[in-house]
Point group: C2
Chain length 531, copies 2
């Protein structure tokens, strides 16, 4: 394979996060979620947003209704997904096609069978009837004024099993008026060397081609790019690679590769700069954990940990990164860990505005980090706790309050009421002793509420603080509830967020430590005090 | 690119989970962790296990000392990692090389610079001195009777910048006696079309070649396979793709692709059948979350959710999977979700031995699942809770005990002692009323201990139950501690494990629900009663 071609004159980034992505195990997007994600996709600059499959998925009809009034897209076209008419029906009498038309989008995408065995076993019809279904459905929708894309399901497997039939379906879709015919590796089993020859054969038909790759062989990105090299002009995928089984191709990686490696301007540089934040926001809306190792946009994608690398990075930051992280809205950061050398502690210190230029001090801080990490702390993701640790070590830590004691009771007395939690906190702030009791949904919430109440006399702006994430990790997974737990809390004042840690054998004790540190840190920095 | 070559006569799977994998942000392997992982790698059948970098990483010297007495490898050779001598030193006087030799392994792997800019900026020496460093260090170690592999750092970037110099380093390593010279894409920025030409050029030297890919472009698997297509006979990577930034190439995917797609027998079919369990065990030892979408070995890798697919899978299970999941020790499963059709509920029922063949009943169960999922439950991963739900719906649920009430107090009174949690539980088992108070490390532990004590009179085998995992998820991440939380608990009797759920605004209440269901389910099934 030689180096990449020039960018096609017309090029489509086609996002199916809302439809195919939502088929992922554990993924449950509501209509509101979908509207929010569609706005972000539009901002990012994708060309098409597949919104759903109104005839198949409960809620997708509602999505298209809501989208009609609530969704104003500036860049992208919304697409409704459906399949070719049922065997034996006419297009006019197929209720699923009626639902597709009712979605009222300018562009529709039809899935059609291109693999003979699937025609027999899944559709239970003949090869001829399947061709007629493709032909009639495309013509019917084109006749209604729609732009029609056709997804040829299992095209690559189908081509390997029966190339004549797979090509016949492709030709039929093209002749019937499909604007783009999309070659799908539905089972995701292809390898890059499979793509070139099959796509090249398909280009002989003369219709615009697309590609849709699943990641079951771990090659979805490379397969998509191989198909682009062989002449497709439309690439389907999902943000963060969401999707069934091993997922769809991750569009964030494809876009960054095309833009930064192929030098194709598929979106604007400004839009590319939002890639990391949009990837994170969509994960948050979809309630999916972030993958720190995700190429380009992951939290660790430009992190440096090993001593050797850290030292080299101090000299020339491009030595150990394949692209400039700022191009995709990400950033380099130095990881603090038990492997930390003096160099990585110093770089981290600079990042946080702490003076660790003294070699001896930096060595001692690295040693301290190692000790704490052996107890279960992990500062990789908790800069606020790291800063508190360093300030304490440097004797520069002035805590805004001192805790005297705390207690929390959770109870379900067997009555019809839900269980309740009641927390009491005693502390000293600015020399004044405060004691409050607070009731909350759950012990951590009750403790947090009590803390806010106790502090709000001296620090009224503390009321703007809230938790945005709360993670509990058992560190010795084999020992169960007896083991050490690490709690990580992300707090915000609405503008800035910061992360703190607590470790202990008791989840409440560890939560309390993370909670108290979160308030110490926020108050120390004066976060929220400008409101 | 054409179809794959035959398997080379000598082929190396070279694992660097313990060295390069351990550089991942958040990864902290102890000596014990490393010994356990090395045993699993040996079982899996990899040829080489890179154990660590004794001159660079604290603890790695200890690992090699412990390995000498505690690690008996049947398949693999242990490798110590080091770098070429320092500029200006002799090999005999370089303390880092002394540490490498002290690791006392038959095989060593040396990292050498192959990119001219790195020689200037990171090593701060001349191109000639770097060549001398490679030459002398390889000869020195060969002279000590070692088998020497050489990792050419940044070879691909280096080749693009200065092919003459990159090739000169490669030739120097070969002439000095390196057994394998490994071309590294250290920054992970290559795309598959970059690999073929550069690897082909390198093969002209006539030495055995290896490849080491990082995943920064999301193409590490495809890049590794492209290099194999172009003639390398040694592939480096890590289990689950652990590693710095976006990680190393995932050896589980590479092995499965080679074995099942290329039909190369790189390990035995029996060893391939352990791939999923070894991948999971190493994640557990490394305290890394599992990636459900991981190709071949992920929990979702062969999951089916969409209604269309679920129906087709009932007819022919090979229609929607690229390989037989049993080949890698994984299995097909049907996902229960709000997208669940009657078909997927029925397949799931069969999996669990529940009779849901009645269409109407299956429809109603699907409806029930949707209702519960809208409240925050998620049965995708919690088969035990799903079974309890269905049995309750079918009026076939006989709970082994009834809860009357519970209460838990956590307190830190400000004394020197740690905080304590005290739980009291009242329940009725077999008509007998039990009430106990128990103290534990944390409220969930205290509740669990109280539950075991209260049940152990009627069900003595309950003492074999323990928690292996406890996960808390905030469902509305923007609302912080006020939001709904979902708790997922994995329980074991030492043989079987089962997963239950609890949902509520209170983490303790949700934990209690999951805990009580775990004991209901285990007792109902009689788990542990044969002991």
């Amino acid at each position: 394979m030689s180096s990449p071609l020039a960018m096609p004159d017309v090029f489509h980034i086609y996002d199916t996060t809302l439809r195919d992505g939502n088929q992922q195990e554990g993924m449950h997007l509501s209509v509101t979620d979908k509207l929010r994600i569609a706005r972000l996709l539009d901002e990012l600059g994708v060309n098409f947003i597949e919104g759903g499959w109104p005839a198949m998925v409960a809620g997708d009809e509602d999505f298209f209704k809501s989208a009609a009034t609530e969704l104003e897209l500036r860049n992208a076209k919304l697409v409704a997904y459906g399949r070719t008419r049922e065997p034996g029906l006419t297009c006019e009498n197929d209720p699923a096609l009626a639902k597709l038309v009712e979605a009222n989008t300018e562009v529709v995408c039809l899935v059609a069978k291109a693999h003979d065995v699937h025609v027999y076993d899944a559709l239970r019809t003949t090869l001829e009837e399947n061709l007629a279904m493709v032909d009639e459905t495309v013509r019917y929708l084109v006749g209604l004024g729609k732009r029609v894309f056709v997804d040829l399901e299992h095209f690559f497997d189908g081509y390997k099993a029966n190339p004549t039939y797979a090509m016949a379906v492709l030709r039929k879709a093209a002749e019937a008026g499909a604007e783009v015919v999309v070659l799908c590796d539905t089972n995701g089993g292809m390898l890059p060397h499979d793509m070139g020859d099959i796509v090249s054969a398909a280009t002989q038909v003369g219709v615009d081609l697309g590609v849709h790759c699943q990641n079951d062989s771990g090659c979805a990105v490379a397969n998509s790019m191989s198909a682009l090299d062989a002449g497709v002009m439309h690439v389907q995928g999902t943000i963060n690679g969401y999707g069934e089984r091993s997922g769809n191709v991750d569009l964030t990686t494809v876009i960054a590769n095309l833009q930064l490696k192929y030098k194709w301007q598929v979106i604007s540089p400004g839009q590319l700069g939002t890639l990391t934040s949009i990837s994170n926001s969509i994960a948050e809306i979809a309630h999916q954990p972030l993958n720190p190792r995700q190429p380009f946009v992951g939290h660790s994608a430009f992190a440096h940990k090993a001593g050797l690398h850290a030292k080299a990075v101090q000299i020339n930051e491009n030595l150990y990164q394949h692209v400039d992280p700022r191009a995709v809205g990400n950033s380099t950061h130095m990881v603090i860990s038990e492997m930390a050398s003096r160099a990585s502690v110093q770089v981290k210190g600079e990042e946080l505005g702490l003076d660790l230029s003294d070699r001896k001090v930096a060595d001692q801080v690295a040693e301290l980090v190692k000790q704490r990490e052996s107890k279960g702390y992990s500062y990789d993701l908790a800069d606020a706790s790291f800063e508190l640790l360093v300030l304490d070590y440097l004797d520069q830590l002035e805590l805004p309050f001192q805790v005297v004691s705390w207690k929390v009771v959770s109870e379900d007395d067997g009555s019809e009421e839900n269980s309740v939690s009641e927390a009491s906190v005693k502390l000293i702030a600015n020399g004044l002793r405060e004691g409050v009791i607070s009731v909350g949904n759950g012990p951590v919430n009750a403790l947090g509420q009590a803390l806010i109440q106790a502090l709000s006399g001296e620090y009224p702006f503390v009321k703007s603080y809230s938790l945005t994430d709360y993670k509990v990790r058992i560190l010795d997974m084999e020992a169960g509830t007896d083991a050490v737990v690490r709690v990580m809390i992300v707090t915000t004042d609405g503008e800035t967020t910061w992360t703190t840690l607590g470790v202990g054998t008791d989840v409440i004790e560890a939560s309390w430590e993370a909670l108290a540190d979160a308030y110490h840190y926020g108050l120390m920095k004066g976060y929220g005090s400008n409101k």
